[in-house]
Symmetry: C2
Subunit: 514 residues, 2 copies
């Protein structure tokens, strides 16, 4: 008889760099790519769910054998592919045309290709010697973005950062260093009490930066906004004067171009005038609004941005680049380096044989830095500036469509009546039981419960996803945002029908139930 | 006659989400994957070059039609694939078995698979609702790493950060908040003069953190090291006492487990004793050395790490995970959240339908955060803890091999004589003209020029890559590090031959030439 020698199931040790590992590696990746591309295709199909929701404890318990635990012994390659499939299955399709939950949405396939290449190149942005091509691409992208902001050829510097919050942190760090360079060595105790200004609708990262940098979040003055979410400039000016009268030192104003919730644009020129007359650093947080600079029709909303001393602009938001891709642009050349350099000799040797001004790592507060530029570079090649323009225009048209629909419907109510400036549209769904109630605390209390209840049902159902929040005196409302070019007006219509159908029968506790 | 209607060259607009875009998308990715996998295979082949060096101006000028400029109009898909090929061609193969230039090297193909999936999922680590699976994987990985560090089940918290410098920054931020929670709102001006301690051989990120956080780099006391690069604990203790005598407030000590250049391990238990007796926060920067915890043979070098209040550990270094993958581990649970939370209501609503303690974004100083955990999770599944152990052991065996070879060769000189503790080996190549010179300033001056000259020739040739630097009173020397499991002893031998052959004829200016 014959003896059966069972073939061993392939393990990761059979992949490269193993001898004769090329074929196993290629076939493993072929199967992986099939899984990934089938996910990509599904992400764009309206018939597929946006998510398949499970609670943390359900996932931890290991659904259908999907174990998250880390083993001592290797798993085989077949099982790894199953793990990959499961990871995607229980995740959220952020590229789905009906995912409206975040400012970053969409799955740009060219951007994705860029990310695959980036991770294959697996290198670090600190020196030219290990990232020659990516360092140059970063320089070219930053230069282009500065040009679009409107800075002259003689000015402008910048760096890509891990997210908009880090970019905003850079702006505060640089402003402080610009006015008080001794802070780098002596610390804040050598300085007077510094004050920052930002609007009530601005992103929380300004306060966070003040806390991290040792300035203190109490030293961030929150300037009031009008009903539309725009900073009231008279309030800014009087806050500056008050701070000065109290013996404090105002040094920095953050103006927002595209607020997180309302999508509002602060009046940049008026704010720039105030900063100029008081000698303050003007930062424009255009993390969300920066994309509109690509559009001839919409860039007027950022008029005055060229007067900023620094700008945050996240191509991973309105321009659809994969996460993360955020730039801090700085008008004053050389400041980034002066502020952050530590001249580590093991990395930034000055006796190298090439032009070491291309070793940009000493400009950053990181050491190693992920390559975030290639995907954006490749997308720019693929679309051209004009491609970004039409993408942005389309997203804003979707917002206009939603706004028009909402105006016509008696079961929805707009949070503010004016046309959307960015792609944010904020609204309440009013369930039948609330439609004839008069405004007041009881209606507010009940209305506050509506959005979370609808969202919970929506997530269980999994056919769409949208965010909600309260803001100031407004109780929980939905915020719809468009940054996914895959979204069509039919998806907008679907969203409203979905909310109305989920919300029609929800149970809101009356006062007597409490 | 017949009219020829030329077929349009496909553009990115023909890819998904275009109608009938699936086939074009799949075939575009198929071609891309061929390019990427052929690069991966080449990376492991010793016959291929590590790099094809060009100066910045050469790349900017557009080599063989490789234009880096950003167009207004779209490029076609064929051209994009050419761009991808060129991007890889002019880059550096950091996975090549003869790339010794950085602490992070190697191309782990499972890690790479993990990155491809991560970018396909394209989501954000701030909330459970958009990253359910990844949030749980992060929790499980952090827990595992804390267990390996030696913390009990009741203690331990953490977060993955964009690089070790950010992880170290977290440690200083948390220490400051732990002792002076009022700093978050009031800033540093409310605090006494704080002092940090770190060794002369430690990473520059400790000073950088002090500068960024408003503590000031002058308030970092640099503690002397012994010849082997280890912190002298008597010096630490006397520095602490001196600082106290001067009316300052010592609060934080950074001990390094695996220094950047020498690969030295500070005596953790002795430092922990000092920290304990003075009530100081002990941070262990094990960015580079943490990987040794996976090895039963080598983890003894980190004895005492369990006494740290926080630990930096970069799996993208010794464990070979793709860039970036760095964890800050914190012993005191809840501190990260208390220190960093800002409770932004648009993101961290508390009226969600799931357990919102899984919305970990408020623990971080970022807002959006890249998914850095999946690749590590997948690698752990693929290798098991034991796979990491043998990988680490192998890298250290390569270092031992290099050390033994160097001892035998008259044309090389070791920077310090003791056995390598980590995989760093530091040495000079001594060209013939210097071999019989007596020690002194002139020999040092000449020797200082040797490594840069050899490195320049090596990069032009492109067959290997290694770093050099001066340190303290040691003039430029080579630092070889091993973290790439693809590297074999034959590659180590090759490196020495390459250096000797490039260095044999180099021209060093004598004093009279100057």
């Amino acid at each position: 008889g014959c003896t059966h020698i069972p073939e061993r199931v392939p393990l990761c040790l059979d992949l490269l760099p193993a001898l004769r590992g090329e074929d196993t590696t290629k076939s493993f990746f072929q199967e992986l790519v099939n899984i990934l591309l089938s996910y990509v295709c599904k992400s764009f199909r309206r018939s597929s769910k946006v998510l398949d929701f499970h609670h943390p404890h359900q996932l931890r318990e290991g659904l259908e054998g999907f174990s998250l635990e880390l083993p001592d012994q290797p798993e085989n390659l077949e099982q790894l592919l199953v793990d990959c499939r499961d990871t995607l299955k229980y995740g959220v399709k952020t590229g789905h045309p009906r995912f409206f939950n975040q400012l970053s949405s969409g799955l740009d396939v060219i951007g994705l290709a860029g990310e695959w290449l980036t991770s294959t190149a697996n290198t670090n942005m600190f020196t030219y010697e290990v990232s020659p091509v990516f360092i140059l691409m970063e320089e070219i992208l930053l230069r282009k973005m500065q040009e679009i902001v409107g800075w002259s050829e003689e000015e402008g510097d910048g760096v890509f950062c891990p997210g908009g919050t880090m970019s905003n942190l850079y702006s505060v760090l640089l402003a402080r260093y610009h006015f008080f360079p001794e802070v780098k060595t002596k610390g804040m105790t050598a300085l007077p009490r510094l004050i920052l200004f930002t609007s009530a609708h601005s992103h929380y990262s300004v306060k966070k930066s003040a806390a991290v940098l040792g300035i203190g979040s109490d030293n961030v003055v929150v300037v009031k906004c009008n009903d539309r979410g725009k900073m009231i400039t008279a309030e800014l000016e009087s806050s500056i004067i008050t701070a000065k009268d109290q013996g404090c030192v105002p040094f920095y104003v953050n103006a927002t171009a595209g607020t997180t919730v309302y999508g509002a644009f602060d009046p940049l020129n008026a704010i720039a005038d105030i900063c100029e007359s008081h000698g303050l650093w003007l930062h424009v947080d255009a993390a969300w609004g920066g994309g509109l600079l690509m559009s001839k029709r919409h860039r007027v909303k950022l008029q005055g941005i060229e007067r900023a001393w620094s700008v945050t602009w996240n191509p991973h938001k309105m321009m659809g680049a994969p996460l993360q891709c955020s730039a801090i642009l700085v008008k004053k050349r050389g400041l980034l380096k002066d502020c952050n350099q530590m001249c580590a000799e093991y990395l930034f040797q000055t006796d190298k044989h090439y032009d070491t001004s291309y070793d940009t790592g000493d400009k950053t507060i990181q050491c190693g830095r992920h390559v975030d530029v290639f995907k954006l570079w490749l997308m720019w090649k693929a679309k051209g500036s004009e491609g970004f323009e039409s993408q942005v225009n389309k997203c804003l048209e979707n917002a206009e469509h939603l706004f028009d629909k909402l105006k016509q419907r008696p079961d929805f109510e707009l949070v503010f009546k004016s046309e959307p400036e960015h792609s944010n549209v904020c609204f309440w769904y009013i369930p039948p039981s609330l439609r004839n109630m008069s405004p007041g605390p009881e209606r507010n209390r009940r209305l506050h419960e509506v959005a979370p209840k609808i969202k919970a049902k929506m997530m269980e159902q999994g056919m769409a996803m949208i965010g909600y929040q309260p803001l100031g005196d407004k109780v929980n409302f939905f915020r719809c945002v468009f940054s996914n070019p895959a979204t069509q007006t039919e998806d907008v219509d679907y969203l409203l029908e979905e909310i109305a159908s989920l919300g029609h029968d929800i149970c809101i506790r009356t006062e007597t139930d409490l």
